[in-house]
Protein backbone atom coordinates (compact mmCIF):
# COMPACT_ATOMS: atom_id res chain seq x y z
CA UNK A 1 0.00 0.00 0.00
CA UNK A 2 1.56 3.17 -1.09
CA UNK A 3 0.36 6.68 -0.68
CA UNK A 4 1.81 9.97 -1.75
CA UNK A 5 2.20 12.33 1.12
CA UNK A 6 3.66 15.02 -1.01
CA UNK A 7 4.35 14.47 -4.68
CA UNK A 8 6.58 17.51 -5.01
CA UNK A 9 8.39 17.76 -1.70
CA UNK A 10 11.14 19.90 -3.22
CA UNK A 11 12.80 20.25 -6.58
CA UNK A 12 16.47 19.31 -6.83
CA UNK A 13 19.13 20.73 -9.06
CA UNK A 14 21.17 18.37 -11.19
CA UNK A 15 24.09 19.13 -8.93
CA UNK A 16 22.26 17.96 -5.82
CA UNK A 17 21.38 14.64 -7.43
CA UNK A 18 24.96 14.23 -8.62
CA UNK A 19 26.25 15.04 -5.15
CA UNK A 20 23.87 12.52 -3.65
CA UNK A 21 24.99 9.80 -6.05
CA UNK A 22 28.63 10.61 -5.37
CA UNK A 23 28.03 10.31 -1.67
CA UNK A 24 26.51 6.91 -2.32
CA UNK A 25 29.83 5.93 -3.87
CA UNK A 26 28.95 6.05 -7.57
CA UNK A 27 32.23 7.70 -8.48
CA UNK A 28 34.63 5.70 -6.37
CA UNK A 29 34.86 2.50 -8.29
CA UNK A 30 35.67 2.93 -11.97
CA UNK A 31 35.10 -0.74 -12.67
CA UNK A 32 31.58 -0.55 -11.24
CA UNK A 33 31.62 -4.04 -9.92
CA UNK A 34 31.63 -3.59 -6.18
CA UNK A 35 29.65 -0.38 -5.91
CA UNK A 36 26.47 -0.32 -3.94
CA UNK A 37 24.56 1.76 -6.44
CA UNK A 38 22.08 0.24 -8.84
CA UNK A 39 22.81 0.19 -12.59
CA UNK A 40 20.01 2.67 -13.17
CA UNK A 41 21.62 5.07 -10.72
CA UNK A 42 24.93 4.68 -12.53
CA UNK A 43 23.22 5.73 -15.77
CA UNK A 44 21.90 8.86 -14.12
CA UNK A 45 25.34 9.48 -12.67
CA UNK A 46 26.93 9.13 -16.11
CA UNK A 47 24.52 11.62 -17.59
CA UNK A 48 25.08 14.14 -14.80
CA UNK A 49 28.83 13.68 -14.82
CA UNK A 50 28.87 14.79 -18.44
CA UNK A 51 26.56 17.70 -17.80
CA UNK A 52 27.59 21.10 -16.50
CA UNK A 53 26.74 19.97 -12.96
CA UNK A 54 30.04 18.07 -12.80
CA UNK A 55 32.12 20.89 -11.36
CA UNK A 56 29.52 22.84 -9.44
CA UNK A 57 29.89 22.98 -5.72
CA UNK A 58 27.53 23.65 -2.88
CA UNK A 59 29.21 27.01 -2.38
CA UNK A 60 28.94 28.08 -6.00
CA UNK A 61 25.24 27.24 -6.15
CA UNK A 62 24.62 29.14 -2.92
CA UNK A 63 26.63 32.07 -4.22
CA UNK A 64 24.63 32.14 -7.43
CA UNK A 65 21.34 32.05 -5.53
CA UNK A 66 22.45 35.03 -3.50
CA UNK A 67 23.78 37.07 -6.38
CA UNK A 68 20.83 36.38 -8.69
CA UNK A 69 18.31 37.69 -6.17
CA UNK A 70 18.33 41.17 -7.65
CA UNK A 71 17.16 39.92 -11.05
CA UNK A 72 13.86 38.77 -9.52
CA UNK A 73 13.85 35.41 -11.28
CA UNK A 74 11.34 32.77 -10.32
CA UNK A 75 12.54 29.49 -8.83
CA UNK A 76 12.03 27.45 -11.98
CA UNK A 77 14.16 29.87 -13.96
CA UNK A 78 16.95 29.78 -11.42
CA UNK A 79 16.81 25.99 -11.40
CA UNK A 80 17.03 25.93 -15.18
CA UNK A 81 19.96 28.34 -15.22
CA UNK A 82 21.88 26.26 -12.70
CA UNK A 83 21.17 23.06 -14.65
CA UNK A 84 21.97 24.44 -18.09
CA UNK A 85 24.66 27.01 -17.28
CA UNK A 86 23.86 29.30 -20.23
CA UNK A 87 27.06 30.82 -21.58
CA UNK A 88 25.56 33.44 -23.87
CA UNK A 89 22.49 35.60 -24.29
CA UNK A 90 21.13 33.18 -26.87
CA UNK A 91 21.40 30.35 -24.41
CA UNK A 92 19.72 32.20 -21.59
CA UNK A 93 16.83 33.67 -23.56
CA UNK A 94 14.62 30.55 -23.74
CA UNK A 95 15.16 29.86 -20.05
CA UNK A 96 13.61 33.09 -18.90
CA UNK A 97 10.07 34.10 -19.62
CA UNK A 98 9.85 37.49 -21.35
CA UNK A 99 13.59 37.86 -21.07
CA UNK A 100 13.88 41.17 -22.92
CA UNK A 101 11.03 42.84 -21.12
CA UNK A 102 12.01 41.84 -17.61
CA UNK A 103 15.76 42.00 -17.68
CA UNK A 104 16.51 44.41 -20.50
CA UNK A 105 20.15 45.38 -20.45
CA UNK A 106 21.02 43.49 -17.27
CA UNK A 107 20.78 40.20 -19.16
CA UNK A 108 24.42 40.54 -20.20
CA UNK A 109 25.28 41.00 -16.57
CA UNK A 110 23.43 37.83 -15.65
CA UNK A 111 25.29 35.85 -18.31
CA UNK A 112 28.58 37.16 -16.93
CA UNK A 113 27.50 36.23 -13.43
CA UNK A 114 26.73 32.67 -14.54
CA UNK A 115 30.11 32.39 -16.25
CA UNK A 116 31.86 33.82 -13.20
CA UNK A 117 30.15 31.70 -10.54
CA UNK A 118 30.12 28.41 -12.43
CA UNK A 119 33.45 27.67 -14.07
CA UNK A 120 33.35 26.15 -17.52
CA UNK A 121 33.11 22.39 -17.34
CA UNK A 122 36.09 20.49 -18.59
CA UNK A 123 36.30 16.75 -18.72
CA UNK A 124 39.49 16.85 -16.71
CA UNK A 125 37.94 18.79 -13.88
CA UNK A 126 35.30 16.16 -13.32
CA UNK A 127 37.48 13.95 -11.14
CA UNK A 128 38.79 16.89 -9.22
CA UNK A 129 35.25 18.02 -8.48
CA UNK A 130 34.35 14.64 -7.11
CA UNK A 131 37.06 14.88 -4.48
CA UNK A 132 36.17 18.36 -3.41
CA UNK A 133 32.55 17.69 -2.69
CA UNK A 134 31.44 16.91 0.79
CA UNK A 135 30.12 13.51 1.60
CA UNK A 136 27.07 14.69 3.46
CA UNK A 137 23.63 14.77 1.98
CA UNK A 138 21.60 17.96 2.39
CA UNK A 139 19.12 17.51 5.21
CA UNK A 140 19.07 13.83 4.46
CA UNK A 141 18.13 12.63 7.87
CA UNK A 142 18.55 8.95 8.31
CA UNK A 143 16.15 7.73 10.90
CA UNK A 144 17.65 6.01 13.86
CA UNK A 145 15.58 2.91 14.02
CA UNK A 146 16.91 1.32 17.14
Amino acid sequence: MSCRKKANASPLTNFEVLDFLRSRGAAKDPTRVIVSVAPSEVKVFDYLEQSVACNQTRESVAEFLKKSEKYKLVKAEILNIINIRPSSVVDIDPLIDDCEGRLGESIEELVELVAEVFPAPAQLQADEGANEDGEEIPDGKQVDTS
Binding site: R4, K6, N8, L12, S40, E41, N83, P94, L95, V143
Partner: protein
Protein backbone atom coordinates in the same frame (compact mmCIF):
# COMPACT_ATOMS: atom_id res chain seq x y z
CA UNK B 1 14.40 17.88 -13.80
CA UNK B 2 14.67 16.01 -10.54
CA UNK B 3 12.58 16.43 -7.45
CA UNK B 4 11.86 14.74 -4.18
CA UNK B 5 8.60 12.96 -3.47
CA UNK B 6 7.49 12.07 0.02
CA UNK B 7 5.82 8.68 0.05
CA UNK B 8 4.33 6.45 2.69
CA UNK B 9 4.41 2.77 1.99
CA UNK B 10 3.51 -0.34 3.92
CA UNK B 11 5.92 -3.13 3.20
CA UNK B 12 6.48 -6.67 4.36
CA UNK B 13 10.02 -7.37 5.40
CA UNK B 14 10.91 -10.97 4.55
CA UNK B 15 12.49 -12.85 7.48
CA UNK B 16 15.72 -13.60 5.63
CA UNK B 17 16.61 -9.92 6.08
CA UNK B 18 16.41 -10.09 9.86
CA UNK B 19 20.18 -10.18 10.27
CA UNK B 20 20.52 -6.71 8.71
CA UNK B 21 19.95 -3.48 10.60
CA UNK B 22 16.33 -2.43 10.09
CA UNK B 23 16.92 0.69 8.01
CA UNK B 24 19.41 -1.09 5.78
CA UNK B 25 16.96 -3.91 5.16
CA UNK B 26 14.10 -1.51 4.50
CA UNK B 27 16.22 0.60 2.19
CA UNK B 28 17.13 -2.48 0.19
CA UNK B 29 13.50 -3.49 -0.08
CA UNK B 30 12.45 -0.01 -1.17
CA UNK B 31 15.17 0.10 -3.78
CA UNK B 32 14.11 -3.25 -5.18
CA UNK B 33 10.55 -2.00 -5.26
CA UNK B 34 10.90 1.48 -6.70
CA UNK B 35 14.25 1.98 -8.40
CA UNK B 36 14.19 2.51 -12.16
CA UNK B 37 10.41 2.33 -12.27
CA UNK B 38 7.88 4.85 -13.40
CA UNK B 39 5.16 5.72 -10.95
CA UNK B 40 2.18 7.19 -12.77
CA UNK B 41 1.97 10.96 -12.45
CA UNK B 42 5.03 10.99 -10.24
CA UNK B 43 7.84 10.21 -12.63
CA UNK B 44 10.77 7.86 -12.92
CA UNK B 45 12.32 6.89 -9.62
CA UNK B 46 16.04 7.48 -9.58
CA UNK B 47 17.00 6.76 -6.02
CA UNK B 48 15.83 6.46 -2.42
CA UNK B 49 16.87 9.77 -0.89
CA UNK B 50 16.21 9.12 2.75
CA UNK B 51 13.96 7.22 5.11
CA UNK B 52 12.23 9.59 7.47
CA UNK B 53 10.16 7.34 9.63
CA UNK B 54 9.78 3.64 10.20
CA UNK B 55 6.64 2.67 12.03
CA UNK B 56 6.37 -0.14 14.52
CA UNK B 57 6.50 -3.57 12.98
CA UNK B 58 3.29 -5.55 12.86
CA UNK B 59 3.02 -9.28 12.42
CA UNK B 60 -0.14 -10.48 10.78
CA UNK B 61 -1.55 -13.71 12.19
CA UNK B 62 -0.12 -16.66 10.35
CA UNK B 63 2.55 -14.57 8.63
CA UNK B 64 6.20 -15.20 9.35
CA UNK B 65 7.30 -11.67 8.65
CA UNK B 66 6.84 -8.22 10.06
CA UNK B 67 5.14 -5.41 8.19
CA UNK B 68 6.26 -1.83 8.51
CA UNK B 69 4.81 1.48 7.50
CA UNK B 70 7.66 3.56 6.14
CA UNK B 71 7.79 7.25 5.31
CA UNK B 72 10.54 8.02 2.85
CA UNK B 73 11.59 10.33 0.08
CA UNK B 74 12.44 9.32 -3.45
CA UNK B 75 14.43 11.25 -6.02
CA UNK B 76 12.12 11.33 -9.00
CA UNK B 77 12.94 12.27 -12.56
CA UNK B 78 10.01 14.50 -13.39
CA UNK B 79 10.74 17.55 -15.53
CA UNK B 80 8.29 20.40 -15.33
CA UNK B 81 6.57 21.76 -18.40
CA UNK B 82 8.74 24.49 -19.88
CA UNK B 83 11.99 23.12 -18.51
CA UNK B 84 14.96 23.05 -20.86
CA UNK B 85 16.98 19.82 -20.83
CA UNK B 86 20.10 18.81 -22.70
CA UNK B 87 19.77 15.49 -24.52
CA UNK B 88 21.32 13.45 -27.28
CA UNK B 89 19.69 12.30 -30.48
CA UNK B 90 18.62 8.67 -30.47
CA UNK B 91 16.53 8.24 -33.58
CA UNK B 92 15.05 10.39 -36.26
CA UNK B 93 12.37 9.54 -38.76
CA UNK B 94 9.51 11.14 -40.64
CA UNK B 95 7.54 11.58 -37.43
CA UNK B 96 10.24 13.65 -35.77
CA UNK B 97 13.05 12.99 -33.36
CA UNK B 98 13.55 10.67 -30.47
CA UNK B 99 15.95 11.96 -27.84
CA UNK B 100 17.78 10.17 -25.08
CA UNK B 101 19.17 11.22 -21.73
CA UNK B 102 21.04 7.98 -21.21
CA UNK B 103 18.75 6.85 -18.42
CA UNK B 104 15.54 7.96 -20.06
CA UNK B 105 14.84 7.49 -23.74
CA UNK B 106 11.18 8.20 -24.31
CA UNK B 107 11.47 11.80 -25.39
CA UNK B 108 9.83 12.60 -28.68
CA UNK B 109 9.92 15.77 -30.72
CA UNK B 110 7.00 15.66 -33.15
CA UNK B 111 7.17 17.30 -36.55
CA UNK B 112 5.12 20.34 -35.63
CA UNK B 113 7.51 21.19 -32.80
CA UNK B 114 10.65 20.88 -34.87
CA UNK B 115 12.74 23.98 -35.54
CA UNK B 116 11.04 26.03 -38.20
CA UNK B 117 11.94 25.85 -41.04
CA UNK B 118 13.43 22.39 -41.20
CA UNK B 119 13.05 19.47 -43.53
CA UNK B 120 13.61 15.74 -43.59
CA UNK B 121 16.47 14.38 -45.63
CA UNK B 122 15.80 10.79 -46.54
CA UNK B 123 19.21 9.94 -47.91
CA UNK B 124 21.02 7.80 -46.76
CA UNK B 125 19.16 7.60 -43.47
CA UNK B 126 16.29 9.71 -42.28
CA UNK B 127 17.72 12.82 -40.74
CA UNK B 128 16.41 16.28 -40.13
CA UNK B 129 18.07 19.41 -41.41
CA UNK B 130 17.42 22.70 -39.79
CA UNK B 131 17.61 25.73 -42.03
CA UNK B 132 18.64 28.93 -40.41
CA UNK B 133 19.32 32.12 -42.31
CA UNK B 134 20.24 30.33 -45.49
CA UNK B 135 22.52 27.85 -43.75
CA UNK B 136 21.50 24.31 -43.04
CA UNK B 137 22.42 22.42 -39.93
CA UNK B 138 21.97 18.67 -39.95
CA UNK B 139 20.59 17.38 -36.66
CA UNK B 140 22.75 14.38 -35.94
CA UNK B 141 24.02 12.45 -32.98
CA UNK B 142 27.13 14.52 -32.39
CA UNK B 143 25.61 17.66 -30.92
CA UNK B 144 23.87 18.13 -27.67
CA UNK B 145 20.25 19.04 -28.26
CA UNK B 146 18.43 21.22 -25.80
CA UNK B 147 14.71 20.80 -25.90
CA UNK B 148 11.90 22.33 -23.95
CA UNK B 149 9.43 20.05 -22.24
CA UNK B 150 6.05 20.47 -23.87
CA UNK B 151 4.08 17.81 -22.06
CA UNK B 152 4.55 14.66 -20.01
CA UNK B 153 2.20 11.75 -20.43
CA UNK B 154 1.82 8.58 -18.44
CA UNK B 155 0.03 6.12 -20.73
CA UNK B 156 -1.76 3.34 -18.91
CA UNK B 157 -0.39 -0.15 -19.34
CA UNK B 158 -2.09 -1.85 -22.29
CA UNK B 159 -3.83 -4.88 -20.84
CA UNK B 160 -4.14 -7.03 -23.97
CA UNK B 161 -0.52 -6.59 -25.02
CA UNK B 162 0.85 -7.35 -21.61
CA UNK B 163 0.00 -11.06 -21.65
CA UNK B 164 1.78 -12.23 -24.80
CA UNK B 165 4.72 -9.88 -24.31
CA UNK B 166 5.84 -10.58 -20.76
CA UNK B 167 6.13 -14.41 -20.77
CA UNK B 168 8.22 -14.34 -23.93
CA UNK B 169 10.61 -11.74 -22.55
CA UNK B 170 11.01 -13.75 -19.36
CA UNK B 171 11.56 -16.87 -21.43
CA UNK B 172 14.26 -15.22 -23.50
CA UNK B 173 15.97 -13.81 -20.50
CA UNK B 174 16.12 -17.09 -18.61
CA UNK B 175 18.70 -18.89 -20.67
CA UNK B 176 21.56 -16.43 -21.19
CA UNK B 177 21.26 -14.22 -18.17
CA UNK B 178 19.62 -15.14 -14.89
CA UNK B 179 19.54 -11.51 -13.74
CA UNK B 180 17.04 -10.55 -16.42
CA UNK B 181 14.53 -12.93 -14.87
CA UNK B 182 14.67 -10.67 -11.90
CA UNK B 183 13.97 -7.73 -14.15
CA UNK B 184 10.68 -9.16 -15.34
CA UNK B 185 7.82 -7.59 -13.49
CA UNK B 186 6.42 -9.79 -10.75
CA UNK B 187 2.65 -9.77 -10.66
CA UNK B 188 2.33 -8.66 -7.06
CA UNK B 189 4.02 -5.30 -7.36
CA UNK B 190 2.53 -2.06 -6.17
CA UNK B 191 -0.96 -0.98 -7.09
CA UNK B 192 0.56 2.04 -8.77
CA UNK B 193 1.33 1.69 -12.44
CA UNK B 194 4.95 0.95 -12.92
CA UNK B 195 7.17 -0.85 -15.32
CA UNK B 196 10.87 -1.47 -15.59
CA UNK B 197 12.65 0.74 -18.04
CA UNK B 198 15.24 -1.92 -18.72
CA UNK B 199 12.54 -4.45 -19.40
CA UNK B 200 11.14 -2.04 -21.95
CA UNK B 201 14.34 -1.84 -23.89
CA UNK B 202 14.47 -5.58 -24.37
CA UNK B 203 11.27 -5.53 -26.34
CA UNK B 204 12.27 -4.45 -29.76
CA UNK B 205 8.96 -3.84 -31.48
CA UNK B 206 7.35 -0.52 -30.51
CA UNK B 207 7.95 -0.79 -26.80
CA UNK B 208 5.37 0.40 -24.37
CA UNK B 209 6.60 3.44 -22.52
CA UNK B 210 5.09 4.22 -19.13
CA UNK B 211 6.25 7.82 -19.28
CA UNK B 212 6.56 9.85 -22.48
CA UNK B 213 7.93 13.35 -22.70
CA UNK B 214 7.05 15.50 -25.66
CA UNK B 215 9.78 17.97 -26.36
CA UNK B 216 9.81 21.09 -28.45
CA UNK B 217 12.61 22.41 -30.61
CA UNK B 218 10.52 25.09 -32.17
CA UNK B 219 12.63 27.99 -33.32
CA UNK B 220 10.83 30.97 -34.67
CA UNK B 221 12.84 33.71 -36.28
CA UNK B 222 10.24 36.27 -35.30
CA UNK B 223 11.21 35.90 -31.71
CA UNK B 224 14.72 36.78 -32.46
CA UNK B 225 14.92 40.44 -33.38
CA UNK B 226 18.64 40.59 -32.85
CA UNK B 227 19.22 37.69 -35.20
CA UNK B 228 21.50 35.97 -32.74
CA UNK B 229 23.32 32.93 -33.91
CA UNK B 230 21.51 29.80 -32.83
CA UNK B 231 24.66 27.75 -32.61
CA UNK B 232 26.89 28.30 -29.69
CA UNK B 233 29.83 26.33 -28.42
CA UNK B 234 29.08 23.41 -30.66
CA UNK B 235 25.72 22.78 -29.08
CA UNK B 236 22.52 22.90 -30.99
CA UNK B 237 20.37 25.46 -29.30
CA UNK B 238 17.09 26.80 -30.35
CA UNK B 239 14.60 29.35 -29.27
CA UNK B 240 11.49 27.74 -28.13
CA UNK B 241 8.27 29.61 -28.02
CA UNK B 242 5.06 28.37 -29.52
CA UNK B 243 4.20 31.10 -31.98
CA UNK B 244 1.91 31.77 -34.87
CA UNK B 245 3.95 30.02 -37.51
CA UNK B 246 4.04 26.78 -35.57
CA UNK B 247 0.30 26.89 -35.08
CA UNK B 248 -0.20 26.91 -38.82
CA UNK B 249 1.64 23.64 -39.03
CA UNK B 250 -0.25 22.28 -36.11
CA UNK B 251 -3.55 22.32 -37.93
CA UNK B 252 -2.74 18.86 -39.17
CA UNK B 253 -2.41 17.47 -35.68
CA UNK B 254 -5.14 16.19 -33.44
CA UNK B 255 -7.49 18.37 -31.52
CA UNK B 256 -5.88 17.53 -28.20
CA UNK B 257 -2.50 18.63 -29.40
CA UNK B 258 -3.94 21.91 -30.62
CA UNK B 259 -5.46 22.34 -27.23
CA UNK B 260 -2.02 21.84 -25.72
CA UNK B 261 -0.59 24.46 -28.01
CA UNK B 262 -3.29 26.93 -27.13
CA UNK B 263 -2.90 26.12 -23.50
CA UNK B 264 0.76 27.00 -23.55
CA UNK B 265 0.19 30.12 -25.61
CA UNK B 266 2.54 32.78 -24.30
Amino acid sequence: MFCLSLIEHTLRLPPHLLDLPLHVAIRGELEALFLDKVIANLGLCVSVYDIQEIGKGFIFPGDGASTYTVLFRLIMFRPFVGEVIAAKLKESDANGLRLSLGFFEDIYVPVHLMPNPSHLKADPVNSWVWEYEGQSFPIDGTDEIRFQVQSIKYPSIPVEEEKPASPSSVEQGKQPNPSSVEKAKPPNRLPVEQEKQSNMKEKQSKPFAPMVITGSLDATGEDDPKGLAPFHGGSLFVHILVCSSSLKQAIRVTASEIWELLFTWP
